[in-house]
């Protein structure tokens, strides 16, 4: 029964919202302190809490209580049958009920959130700025930028088992994670702009390290130093709480953990640690609340689940024992309203989930605080009685009553040491784990499950037909819980105020953000695995020439291969943190830089890039293999800024290239990990070049398109075309089969006779035939540059006459 109150407390606080959750925390904290014989101002807090609970909420309370009671029952049932949360939708249902919403609604709203609808609540989203790690929500420490462009503390990447980037959910290659070095620019900026906090972070990491080596005293010392630098560091506080815990300084541990829960009031890890401390103190109910909140916030948190299971098992087991021995001592509060109806005051048909009444002491206080005066408190009697009972069961009493075994604490200890970050385990794994650890009572027997049909139907009704208002905060937390990518981060909500770290303006210096390649402000900064930053276009151009970092010479083959995998966008992804910092703190310089960038792009468009390689023809395919660094650059620029077009001219000795060429349009590109590419293109317009020059290593020129003259005598030309077409077909069909196959595979099928006259290029088939003719490229280029269709047809007739003669001569 006490859990019912406990859960009720939790739910009330959750339903009231974040602020009152904090207050509830405080009140519980006060409660604990009282138990620890610390004087408190309990009544003041009661008053405070009462004012927060609105009348509206009060009216909903009994309903919520009903729901919660059944959840606890369900959990108790599931727990004892070691089936808790084996299916994700059950967890959904439980959380839904806890929050007083129907599960379908929650599913729907979580969908809305992911689709970025206007209903997205940002109220209790973690407060961060660009300097925060999106995993631990502290200031970035030893920042490492991943290829997806997101940055985390190195320790966050190393210690945790992050499978996907928590921001973009791109899968992480575990074997590569340790190869990434610190983002050197960011380290410098963090040390310069946030020197004190950075020092605090460094001390925190040191402290955590001491903790993991079980140097608890040293850990406390170093973490206290860290906290003197950054008083609000939830990481430092959490770990100091752990260290105190192991030093058996529970008073101090509690104080720290309460602070953590205020700073990060939806951090499952914090509630878990809180549960451990409270459990150790024998405050089993409060521990259960804490474990339960932790579990609700992170349904896959195995250690919390095991704890909830263990405590509920102990309680139920204990109840059953007590029920047998002393059923009369069970006070009426054990009865739920529904059961009350059924059993009507008689204990003989009491439900299977009786819990020892004396466990409800502390929560009764909280229930009292919340002004609950209905059924739940009926059996309690006068408030004097409550007070009496409260002090009757001090921590030691709890511990002995529940027969807390020493191995519990051992297990708890190891879990505390290793659960620095939430472990992301699939439900399947949890299920297996739970199956391996069946719930066994002290006599070594499996505890039987009691779940009556009526109870089941009641649970169903409550789970799926309930609906009540939820605060924004809770909905967000709830939505986030369903979003695994976010939830895996573990820390769901820290505070409702937005964070904006102050930066001393005198420390901002654009030269800290200078690209070593172009010696200007970073534009689209990209961070390499070795931690160096360059402008996107600068590093790309370097990689065309050499697959290593220009600054440290580290191989970039791997990086390029990774980039090629996600090559939809052609480019590696920029370092968002650095980009955002520049955006925010160097806006003026960035604007200037952007202007330069745009001018440069504009300049590129002044002339057409010319690929000097072969002769191409209008409408004829031209497959290309691009491997030379200069043409890699040219291709990227054409794809981005030139409508996927470039000119193709054949080389001519002593000149940059032939003056006549064909524009090619890229139809498809396949990039290889080493930067090479295969381009599928086709010609479409003829041109003549002037002002040839070299730009960034490749040729560019001004071009003038070649357009056929207008022809007056259309009939005559059509006649001529038919003659040439037939000649061509005749010649082609006489070619050896393998030659024809080769031609077809390269240039496509022999085209149909289109009689395009008075168009820019005349009939397409004529260019196809020219492409395959066994004629010198020099001659082909002359025909390509000819603007007179009739003359071209004449040349073709002559060529075919020669070819015919050759054939008969043979």
């Amino acid at each position: 029964m006490s859990e019912i109150h406990a859960m009720l407390d939790a739910s009330n606080s959750l339903n009231i919202g974040a602020d009152s959750a904090l207050l509830l925390e405080k009140s519980v904290s006060v409660n604990i302190k009282e138990k620890l014989n610390l004087k408190s101002k309990l009544t003041a807090d009661r008053q405070l809490l009462k004012t927060i609970v609105s009348p509206q909420r009060q009216s909903q309370k009994s309903k919520i209580k009903l729901e919660l009671r059944s959840i606890v029952k369900e959990i108790a049932a599931k727990v004892t049958s070691s089936e808790i949360n084996t299916e994700a939708h059950k967890v959904t249902a439980v959380i839904a009920t806890l929050l007083g919403r129907s599960s379908s609604k929650i599913a729907a709203s979580s969908k809305e959130t992911s689709q970025g609808s206007s209903k997205v609540f940002t109220g209790s989203f973690p407060a961060m700025d660009d300097f925060s790690c999106q995993r631990c929500y502290e200031l970035l420490y030893d920042p490492v930028t991943l290829p997806c462009g997101h940055t985390f503390c190195q320790s966050c990447l190393w210690i945790s088992t992050m499978q996907n980037c928590v921001v973009c959910s791109k899968p992480l290659k575990q074997e590569e994670l340790r190869l990434y070095r610190f983002n050197i620019v960011l380290v410098r900026i963090l040390q310069k702009w946030h020197s004190v906090e950075y020092k605090g972070r460094s001390l925190t990491e040191k402290g955590i390290n001491h903790l993991s080596k079980q140097n608890f005293g040293e850990a406390v010392k170093v973490l206290s130093e860290a906290l003197s630098c950054v008083p609000g560091s939830h990481m430092a506080l959490l770990h100091r709480a752990k260290a105190y815990y192991f030093l058996n300084l529970f008073d101090e541990a509690l104080e720290d953990i309460f602070k953590v829960c205020q700073l990060a009031h939806a951090w499952p890890e914090a509630y878990y640690v809180k549960g451990e401390i409270l459990y150790k103190l024998g405050c089993v109910e409060e521990a259960l609340i804490a474990y339960f909140i932790s579990l609700v916030l992170e349904p896959s948190k195995v250690c919390s689940r095991n704890k909830v299971r263990k405590i509920l098992t102990q309680i139920i087991h204990h109840t059953e024992e007590r029920e047998e021995s002393d059923s009369k001592s069970l006070s009426p509060i054990c009865r739920s309203p529904t059961n009350k109806k059924r059993s009507h005051g008689s204990c003989s048909t009491s439900p299977p989930y009786k819990l020892p009444c004396h466990l409800s002491t502390s929560s009764k206080d909280v229930v009292g605080l919340l002004g609950a005066s209905d059924v739940f408190c009926e059996g309690v009697g006068s408030s004097n009685e409550v007070e009496e009972k409260t002090f009757k069961y001090l921590p030691h009493g709890y511990a002995s009553e529940l027969k807390i075994k020493s191995e519990d604490t051992c297990e708890m200890g190891s879990c505390l040491l290793h659960s620095h970050f939430p472990v992301d385990i699939s439900y399947e794994e949890i299920r297996i784990k739970l199956e391996q650890e069946p719930v066994i009572d002290e006599k070594g027997q499996l505890i039987p499950v009691h779940l009556t049909p009526e109870l089941e139907s009641e649970i169903d009704r409550l789970l799926f037909n309930t609906e009540s208002a939820v605060t924004r905060d809770l909905q967000t937390i709830c939505n986030m819980s369903f979003n695994r990518e976010v939830a895996v981060g573990g820390l769901l909500s820290i505070s409702t105020t937005t964070l904006q770290r102050n930066v001393d303006q005198t420390l901002i210096d654009a030269s800290d953000f200078e690209c070593s390649l172009c010696m200007r402000l970073f534009y689209d900064p990209v961070c390499t695995p070795c931690g160096h930053i360059f402008c996107l276009l600068c590093i790309e151009r370097c990689l065309d020439h050499n697959a290593q970092c220009p600054l440290c010479k580290r191989s970039m083959h791997h990086y390029m291969a990774n980039a090629a995998e996600s090559m939809e966008k052609l480019h590696p992804i920029c370092d968002y943190v650095t980009k955002n910092i520049i955006n925010q703190y160097l806006a003026v310089q960035l604007k200037e830089r952007q202007q330069q960038h745009e001018e440069e792009i504009e300049e590129l468009n002044q002339a057409q890039p010319i690929f000097v390689c072969t002769i191409a023809f209008p409408s004829v395919p031209c497959p290309l293999h691009i491997f030379e660094p200069r043409y890699r650059l040219m291709l990227r620029r054409c794809l981005e800024h030139n409508d996927k077009e470039f000119g193709m001219c054949m080389p001519v000795p002593g000149k940059p290239h032939h003056e006549v060429g064909t524009m090619l349009k890229v139809r498809d590109v396949t990039f290889f990990p080493d930067g090479r590419s295969v381009v599928d293109s086709a010609g479409f317009r003829r041109f003549r070049t002037s002002d040839c020059r070299v730009q960034d290593g490749y040729n560019v020129a001004k071009i003038k398109f070649i357009v056929d003259r207008k022809e007056a005598d259309v009939d005559m030309i059509e006649q001529q075309m038919t003659v040439v077409y037939n000649d061509a077909v005749e010649w082609f069909t006489k070619l050896p089969v393998d030659t024809r196959t080769r031609i077809k595979s390269h240039f496509g099928d022999f085209p149909a006779q289109d009689n395009k006259i008075n168009t820019e290029n005349g009939p397409d088939w004529l260019w196809w035939v020219l492409a395959i003719l066994p004629v010198e490229d020099r001659v082909k280029a002359t025909i390509l540059g000819n603007e007179d269709l009739l003359k071209r047809l004449g040349i073709f007739r002559k060529i075919f006459a020669i070819l015919k003669r050759r054939n008969t001569e043979r």
């Binding site: 070593s516 220009p550 330069q596």
Partner: protein, 153 residues
């Protein structure tokens, strides 16, 4: 001819505004990719007291390709040949676009302080240097006096 890349402009500005001790580099009036360079012989080297003239050219592909540098003053050095070509890895396969004119000139200055006869360009000089270092250093000093001092050619 497109305008001078901004990087070259910036490097030139910095070379002029923050000159390196013992090195001067001035762009040619007619070609801003061409630099007139002087390097003072480093202290405690056989080249001490000499002022060596060099020419440096930034090719079209710069900074993707290394600058081209040549000594115009005759010098007796195992890594510099008769016509002034320099054997320095960063000017060849070890070139990186993150290096600059400034770093190249500093490297050449360092090369004068620490000749490396094991990676020679001028084989005869390197042989002498290895066989009889004292004699080689003496010759280097004489050449410095003869060609690199008081406007000597």
């Amino acid at each position: 001819m497109a305008g001078l890349p901004r990087r070259i402009t910036k490097e030139t500005q910095r070379l002029l505004s923050e000159p390196v001790q013992g090195i001067s580099a001035t762009p040619d009036e007619n070609n801003l990719r061409y630099f007139h360079v002087t390097i003072n012989g480093p202290k405690d080297s056989p080249f001490e007291g000499g002022v060596f003239k060099l020419e440096l050219f930034l090719p079209e592909e710069y900074p993707m390709a290394a600058p081209k540098v040549r000594f115009n003053t005759k010098i007796y050095h195992p890594n510099i040949d008769k016509i002034g070509r320099i054997c320095l890895d960063i000017l060849k396969d070890k070139w990186s676009p993150a290096l600059q004119v400034r770093t190249v000139l500093l490297s050449i200055q360092a090369l004068l302080s620490a000749p490396n006869p094991d990676d020679p360009l001028a084989n005869d000089v390197a042989d002498n240097w290895k066989r009889n270092e004292a004699a080689a250093i003496k010759t280097a000093r004489e050449w410095t006096q003869k060609y690199a001092m008081s406007g000597g050619q």
